[in-house]
């Protein structure tokens, strides 16, 4: 009898969970559906079955050269992530393996920089960018994204590196491994998964950053965030085109996100929840 009860309970839970999930997912689902409708279809009222046309995708590319902001997003998010890793891997490494009394203070201080509201430095950053010709440049924005995500990258790497047991290093040393051998054959293989997940999360954060990317660009360096935001004052019919552009903008990151659920919790809570 207990089994019958638990089976019924599983069924109820399943139905409830699917309803909740579908409601939460609905705006995304409906965007994808609408992107395969024609413009007249898109405003004809609620319908979950599109005609399957891809004219909106074609129009988005031909009318507003979608490829350019897309490539900007790719370059900015990957570029800033690599730059951040380059700077923070050594830092996290030394903090995890030769911690001093001040390591904790430094980590906390790094975290505190993340709490500075972006808008508080909007004016100086804007003026600096204007005066140095960095406005609307990919280099300027890459550096910007690197800086705002640097604390998270250091923290994430630190929490991963801290889990590499120090005894392994000692064992390697006993076996006569050189420093170089230690790094290449012992530490690197153990550190790669941590670095990879840090990279993944950071690309997601950089891709979706929507304050500096909008304010510091106009056309040349504008990534998808700025491109989509420009749809806010549309002319004429544009529901289907908006949907197509949105679908293309979120698809890559959505898929990456699905693979990084676990790391997401850890990275965004600075290791406080695992």
């Amino acid at each position: 009898m207990a089994r019958a009860v638990s089976r019924r309970r599983t069924a109820i839970v399943t139905i409830a969970a699917w309803i909740v999930a579908l409601i939460i997912f609905f705006p995304i689902l409906y965007t994808i559906i609408t992107s395969f409708k024609s413009e007249t279809e898109a405003i004809q009222g609620f319908s979950l079955i599109p005609s399957g046309t891809i004219e909106s995708y074609v129009a988005v590319q031909s009318q507003s050269n979608y490829f350019k902001p897309f490539m900007n997003s790719v370059i900015l998010s990957i570029g800033s992530t690599l730059l951040a890793l380059l700077v923070s891997v050594p830092a996290a490494w030394s903090m995890a393996f030769s911690p001093t009394k001040r390591t904790k203070d430094i980590l906390m201080w790094m975290l505190s920089t993340k709490m500075m509201p972006a808008v508080a430095v909007l004016v100086p950053i804007y003026l600096i960018f204007r005066d140095t010709g960095l406005l609307d440049s990919r280099i300027g924005l890459t550096v910007m994204l690197t800086l705002i995500n640097l604390p998270i990258v250091v923290w994430m790497l630190y929490t991963y590196f801290r889990e590499i047991p120090g005894e392994i290093l000692e064992a390697a040393r006993m076996d006569g491994a050189s420093l170089w051998g230690e790094i290449v054959y012992v530490l690197t293989p153990m550190a790669v998964p941590g670095i990879a997940s840090t990279m993944l999360l950071n690309i997601i954060l950089a891709w979706n950053e929507a304050f500096w990317t909008i304010r510091l660009t106009t056309t040349n360096a504008a990534p998808l965030t700025a491109f989509i935001a420009s749809f806010s004052s549309p002319q004429g019919l544009f529901w289907a085109k908006l949907s197509a552009a949105s679908t293309l903008a979120i698809a890559p990151i959505l898929i990456m996100g699905w693979f990084s659920q676990k790391q997401l919790v850890r990275g965004l809570t600075f290791g406080a929840v695992k």
Binding site: V20, S94, M108, V123, A272
Partner: protein, 290 residues
């Protein structure tokens, strides 16, 4: 001697990150502080003079200032309430055995990966639009008058959108915490005859307390800075009905060209964020001592 070498090397390895962040912290913030005491308008850049506290007074007496502070708090508190309560409920649901849990999880986590401009525009046009939105379609199907969400309830609409984006984050973290709850404890409580409500109040909730704190604090940092969602939906209007502090500062700086006034606002935003930050640092710091 070897330790000294190691220490020097360690310092050298940390230098780039620490240096970069130091510059990133100090240079712009000092400039903001400096500008906040200056009469400086971008339309009249040759005429810069010392203003004393005038910018602060100006910002403080602007009727939009208090409304924007109020709106900022409403967004933070409103979104937190929806996401924490909703997050606990959904996490409890997902913690049960069910069919297709993987897919359910993926669907629920998805909104977090949608960039803010897309989230806001999709909700504005396809869901909440008074003419063609899904809500309007349903209202008409029920014979009701469609609601013009962004004209009638601008701030509420923004809270809904932002809550939709952050609900997955709260759910995911609370679910992670739930799954670390000791199964034996749960069983023991069940054996002792504790019903669901009692188990929830005396076992689950205390266990979740720390994660809830973390969720609240981290979300607050981001929610204090909500910007793109307002920009693409209401643009702060009607009037100042949906203008929060970041949006007011942006308006003062880049639409009003008032560098001094915007900087004073920026300093106020820093103070607000710092109050929150102190609490967050404590919560995260405790974890480090573990």
């Amino acid at each position: 001697m070897a330790t000294q070498n190691t220490r020097a090397l360690a310092r050298l390895m940390m230098a780039p990150s620490v240096g970069l962040l130091l510059i990133w912290m100090i240079v712009p913030l000092t400039m903001t502080l400096w500008f906040s005491f200056q009469n400086y308008n971008l339309l009249n850049p040759g005429n810069v003079s010392f203003a004393g506290l005038f910018n602060y007074q100006y910002f403080y007496t602007d009727p939009a200032f208090f409304q924007s502070i109020w709106n900022t708090l409403l967004i933070v508190v409103g979104v937190l309430m929806i996401t924490v309560i909703g997050g606990i409920a959904i996490a409890l649901l997902l913690d049960q055995p069910m069919f297709g849990q993987g897919i359910v999880r993926i669907m629920i986590i998805s909104p977090f990966f949608v960039m803010p401009p897309v989230a806001a525009l999709v909700w504005k046009n396809m869901i909440m639009h008074p003419g063609y939105g899904v809500f309007a379609d349903f209202s008409r199907a029920l014979g009701l008058q469609p609601v013009d969400w962004f004209a009638q309830y601008p701030l509420f609409s923004i809270i809904i959108i932002v809550a939709w984006q952050w609900l997955p984050f709260a759910t995911l973290i609370l679910l992670t915490a739930l799954q670390s709850l000791d199964g034996e404890q749960k069983e023991a409580a069940e054996m002792d005859g504790a019903n669901f409500v009692n188990r929830f109040i005396y076992l689950t909730l205390p266990h979740l307390a720390r994660s809830v704190t973390v969720v609240i604090l981290i979300q607050t940092i981001f929610l204090l800075g909500v910007y793109a969602e307002i920009l693409v939906t209401t643009n702060g209007g009607p009037g100042y009905a949906s203008t929060n502090l970041p949006f007011l500062i942006y308006r003062t700086a880049l639409l009003g060209y008032d560098v001094g006034g915007a900087s004073a606002g920026g300093i106020i935003a820093v103070i607000l964020a710092n109050i929150v930050a102190i609490f967050l640092m404590r919560a995260v710091g405790k974890n480090l001592d573990r």
